[in-house]
Symmetry: none
Subunit: 214 residues, 2 copies
DNA sequence: CCGAGAAAAGGGATATATTCCTGTCAGCAA
DNA sequence: TTGCTGACAGGAATATATCCCTTTTCTCGG
């Protein structure tokens, strides 16, 4: 289901995520700045007007966003999750829709035409290590006993959970909020509002948390 | 990113899932049967033609499909898993606590007595599958794009994060707060205070989230 | 083989999203 | 103030997706 209201809200949300207005978004995509004007969302007689698929394609291209991310903003209630039953070795996978639950047979095994094999990208040799969390200091994200797997080769991007080793103190688990030319800004996993700022030269090393047992 | 080829493939796939041809799909949606004709997918001069979002809305409405299901097959590249959990067996693991710091050598490799090989519980006979989280409804625990691996054989205990399939609604990701003789009590991953209570007989099945990409 | 029905090609007409234009208004800086 | 910029409204022109119609092709029963 895709409503007129939803699609315009998704466009606004996309623009906002990239610090743009709807007209700025249109311009960046090579469209006329008035394409997404509020005044163009309903015809004179009140009938809804729909953006073209080609325009959608262009704004996704211009912002580098995926379709999945775009539609994720459509219906927060729907909370779409895509199910991909995979075994650890690379297995059948299927998408899951909100109205037709992914098919499982009587034994609970994935079944039906929706499933297809999942292919995982080849994994380069990486120096992985793991830390087991002790105590409840990282709730609600990590519980006592959780194991987090850390890669020091994977590039760290904004929003990633990381292990940071500052030069003068011990390892901590944080979330990278953003980075500036000279410093990193971290926030606590707990969601507390406090921020930690560290200059690039004050960070001994940093690794990205790629998996976590639950 | 949304390509011309992808969107037409998604329409064909949608029709096929419902046992229809592209013209049958158009008719069912109240559109002209020729709307999705292969001959209408490119203009006479070879330029691509895009279906309108209004038509997309109508075929989703007619088939009862969600946007998420529709776009699920579009972009397999989108959700890339960085590692396979099975690859984690044997990597060095150390306790992460406030008191002790684990040692690394000059090259950044784990060293010292604090580390030992990670052992994973055997899962040979287990039915594992995964869900790819879309949207920000599960923050701060899971981000958009995170992949959670679910086991339906691992015993579920209080405090575990689980996938619940109620008899009359769709799968949801929750945290099991506690269980009584007749019911389960869940709380949302988001940390909201609301609780969801489900009788044992109202739960179709439940699986435990054992790993999650981050 | 023949006919019925559906799918699909092809072309003209229509509907509508976008573009292009002008103008208003708000915010901001000199 | 003045000038500049961007957001936005509104209208006309253009571009294009859909609709409507006809014809052809294909499949399936008889």
């Amino acid at each position: 289901m895709l409503s007129h209201e939803q699609i315009w809200a998704a466009i606004d949300a996309l623009a906002k995520r990239h610090g743009l207005t709807s007209s700025g978004l249109a311009k960046r995509a090579g469209l006329d700045p008035t394409t997404f004007n509020p005044s163009k969302r309903f015809a004179g007689d009140g009938r809804p007007r729909w953006p073209s698929t080609e325009s959608l394609s262009k704004i996704l291209e211009a912002t580098g966003e995926s379709v999945g991310r775009f539609v994720a903003g459509l219906d927060p209630e729907e909370r779409t999750v895509t199910a991909r039953p995979e075994a650890f070795a690379g297995i059948p996978v299927a998408a899951f829709s909100s109205e037709a639950d992914a098919d499982f047979d009587a034994k609970g095994a994935p079944t039906g035409p929706a499933w297809e094999p999942l292919t995982l990208p080849p994994r380069k040799a990486d120096k992985l290590f793991a830390l087991s969390v002790e105590g409840d200091g990282l709730l609600p994200v990590y519980r006592h006993g959780d194991v987090v797997v850390i890669s020091r080769k994977t590039p760290v991007r904004t929003g990633d959970r990381v292990v940071v080793k500052p030069k003068n103190s011990q390892m901590t688990l944080l979330c990278l909020e953003h980075r500036t030319a000279k410093a990193y800004v971290f926030k606590a996993l707990s969601g507390a509002s406090a921020r930690l700022q560290l200059g690039h030269e004050d960070v001994d090393w940093m690794g990205r948390i790629v998996w976590a047992s639950q």
